[in-house]
Symmetry: C2
């Protein structure tokens, strides 16, 4: 236990310094490291492996809903950005500009994509002629660059990895349906794969994407009571289609502009799951995206047959499709326990001479502290698989309970201040005026998050101005 | 047949204009399109799907050989490039430079990675302390930018997608072993997955990677007799480790520089398979990477039960893990035959009322023209799967035979000129002098490709200068 304490001391206390706890966990579990250029991040193998599982899970869902992947160039003529007024206003200050190739100046400066609506619209204008070409449902996995002032690994980095889906539709109704469909895909993925409950709803005009008519988001509730916008879907109407002159011959034989959507989620999801599930001992990874789902730790490894049996166990579990690590290193079992707890491995199996005699192993689950159970080696593949499902369900339940306790109803600014001071979300009424949003942000550093689809009122007047209000919305501090 | 002729007329004749044939095939089968910025390419869904299968196949092999994926920032301080003299000399003229964020000039210009040795070495210097940290075997899937004067879709584009593996080792022997291991991985992948024979060997000093001590390549023989370098592995020795001060405590307790390798393959592989397998009717896609492996074409689709049975067939084949498309469009069967032949779909199944009566379908394979066979619907899943294996084997055999006929032994410049004039590779002896390579390139536009591992001499004197020569090497025009 001495080792245990020493080790966990490496991570700041989650209760008293959540922000440092986060950075410690990210760096010490080797999820990521800082890159040499300010604001950049290196995703190390342990962090990138989580991203690979997230990619696979989302990509399967995109394909199941009819989307195909493609890849568009990263460098965009600056003039494209200027074609949609709100878009250029939103992105111009933070775009990286390529001005030279070697010693030669380029005739037109190029933007490193901060998002790809413009270049994709330029291509769509070429590809789409008829209603037969619609819907056009394309997604891309790519890196984007947005130069942010304040950066943190996974949460906000100058360059990040993401996916961006861009779709065109014959009708407004279809496009709106797509916008909500993909929001639901994100929600379902977060719940079932990341064991992470999210609040879904529509953003205010102030908080929407630059150039969109409507933006919807999934908001994850972090343990410090802040909101992390973890995925967005946008309804563009015909804004970009007009700016880029995308037209198709309709069923009625007339030229029309199609209706457009986009949807995106990024490596920020990794930040979300760290801050949803982590605890005082480090990461707790949801089993379906954990790079290592089961760690096997040999006890009295030098005793005859222990390592041999440990290898056999590893091979059996691996053959069953599980991601397994056997730690044969010279470190003590105690050191290893702490290491893999900090790294958030969902299941630990200890295997020593006495266990082998009993045809069993000692099992501990990361989501429930202090519990140890003997598990028979007979049929251990299926018992571990069932356990991973159970862990996922339990992690989701725990997070959902905590979230419920983190949301309070607010009627006025005092309520909202009390909520913010106690690290909670306020759910309250809003008149819809930008002035109130600005005032709330200025005085409480709280922003509107999103308007849930269930708009059953929780009051009748705006929490800020006290005027009649019909919009129910979440308020919270945010990342 | 009238439609067939009209349709194929869209593609230039492969015999008389291979170059236009290539561009036509790429654009008309919608593998790719030109991007708005000169030299860039959009990978459309049909082309990108091939890339996804290539990625999966290579990635599985990298992981099976112990490599893990990570992601390093794309923007690299310019000064990093300058730390290795040959490296900066090789890449400086063609790098894209980020000089501004919005309206603000950056204190140091940033390079959009043309390759990532420098930034990865910077991080490795931080991560590696002891021999216990070695070998370090990391791969990254990423986009890179190299501004080339002459560009062609997939073959050479300003931005391209690739993977780059970067490894560090305790000893020179281990690093050299890794360099050859990954070369063999590329070779095996090309043969078994892309049905594409390649020539493997070491590049000359002139043709090696900027900063490497040795470069090895896989060279694919295109139908026009040109060579396409389709993947490379590099042995760096301690060059970069010294430049970036990477050091580890050895088993003997002394600080040493590790030995380094890298290996890369790109979307160029798609160009390689197009030009290896394509024919006068368009693409012929190797089955394991074909986005659509089986196309089902209903005959007399309006007759009762035809579409219903076609759907059932599609569902059965899909459930068996095959990638299947059922074309229910209004286009005529003849139009569809041509469309999917041009798109290179390996297997076509026609299903009409008479076939259904016989519990059969009519099967055509893209790799053998004009053959039609009846196939029973009983057990069609396994017969189609076996057929795809057979198609792959047959495509490999055909390509290998053609390749053999495209290599001739050369003793002197006349032989080499005759080889080049008849679109063939010359295999001959070389003295090892750069002057001879330069002269051959200048007079015949032919370059050295690589030195095969089997160095059994095919002569005793240099094809160029006539002096005594011990190196056997392939000479060819190249992309």
């Amino acid at each position: 236990m001495a080792e245990s304490r020493t080790f966990v001391k490496d991570i700041a206390d989650i209760e008293s310094d959540f922000s440092r706890w986060y950075t410690d966990v990210v760096l010490k579990t080797r999820l990521a490291d800082y890159g040499p250029v300010k604001g950049t991040m290196v995703m190390r193998p342990y962090g990138y492996a989580i991203w690979e599982h997230i990619q696979r899970g989302l990509d399967d869902r995109f394909k199941a809903t009819g989307h195909e992947n493609a890849y568009f160039p990263m460098l965009i003529p600056y003039s494209y950005l200027e074609r949609e007024a709100e878009h250029v206003e939103g992105f111009a200050p933070e775009v990286a500009l390529v001005t030279h190739i070697g010693a030669e100046e380029l005739p037109e400066k190029l933007v490193v994509r901060p998002t790809s609506e413009t270049i994709i619209c330029e291509m769509y204008a070429k590809w789409v002629q008829s209603y037969r070409d619609l819907p056009l449902l394309i997604n891309q996995w790519a890196n984007v660059v947005r130069w942010e002032k304040t950066t943190r690994p996974f949460l906000r980095t100058s360059e990040f990895l993401w996916q961006e889906g861009h779709t065109l539709h014959e009708t407004e109704a279809e496009a709106r349906e797509e916008t909500l469909r993909m929001l639901r895909v994100y929600e379902e993925f977060c719940q079932n794969v990341l064991a992470m409950p999210v609040l879904i709803g529509r953003k205010s005009d102030k908080e929407k994407f630059a150039g969109a008519q409507e933006t919807y988001s999934i908001e994850a509730i972090m343990q410090d009571g802040k909101s992390l916008q973890s995925g967005t879907t946008h309804y563009f109407g015909q804004n970009f289609a007009k700016a880029f002159d995308i037209r198709f011959q309709s069923r009625a034989g007339v030229l029309e502009h199609p209706y457009q959507t986009s949807f995106g989620a990024s490596t920020r999801l990794i930040g979300a799951l760290i801050m949803t599930h982590g605890d005082e001992r480090g990461l707790r990874l949801p089993p379906y995206v954990a790079p290592v789902q089961v760690v096997i730790i040999p006890i009295a490894a030098k005793k005859e047959g222990v390592l041999e049996n440990a290898h056999r166990l590893k091979d059996r579990l691996t053959a069953a499709g599980l991601r397994v690590k056997l730690d044969e290193s010279e470190n003590s079992p105690g050191w290893k326990f702490n290491e893999y707890e900090m790294k958030g491995v969902p299941v630990r199996l200890e295997l020593g001479p006495r266990d082998i005699e009993k045809n069993a192993a000692v099992l501990s689950r990361r989501d429930i502290a202090g519990e140890k159970n003997e598990v028979s080696l007979d049929g251990i593949e299926s018992s571990v698989k069932a356990l991973l499902d159970d862990i996922n369900a339990n992690m989701y339940q725990k997070a959902a309970e905590r979230n419920r306790a983190k949301i309070v109803t607010v009627q006025n600014m005092d309520d909202l201040k009390a909520a913010a001071d106690s690290s909670k979300f306020g759910l309250g009424m809003w008149c819809g005026e930008r002035a109130c949003e600005d005032k709330i942000k200025e005085s409480l550093q709280v922003t509107t998050r999103n308007m849930p689809f269930d708009q059953t009122p929780v009051g009748s007047t705006c929490v800020c101005c006290g005027k009649k209000a019909k919009i129910k919305i979440y308020f919270a501090k945010s990342y």
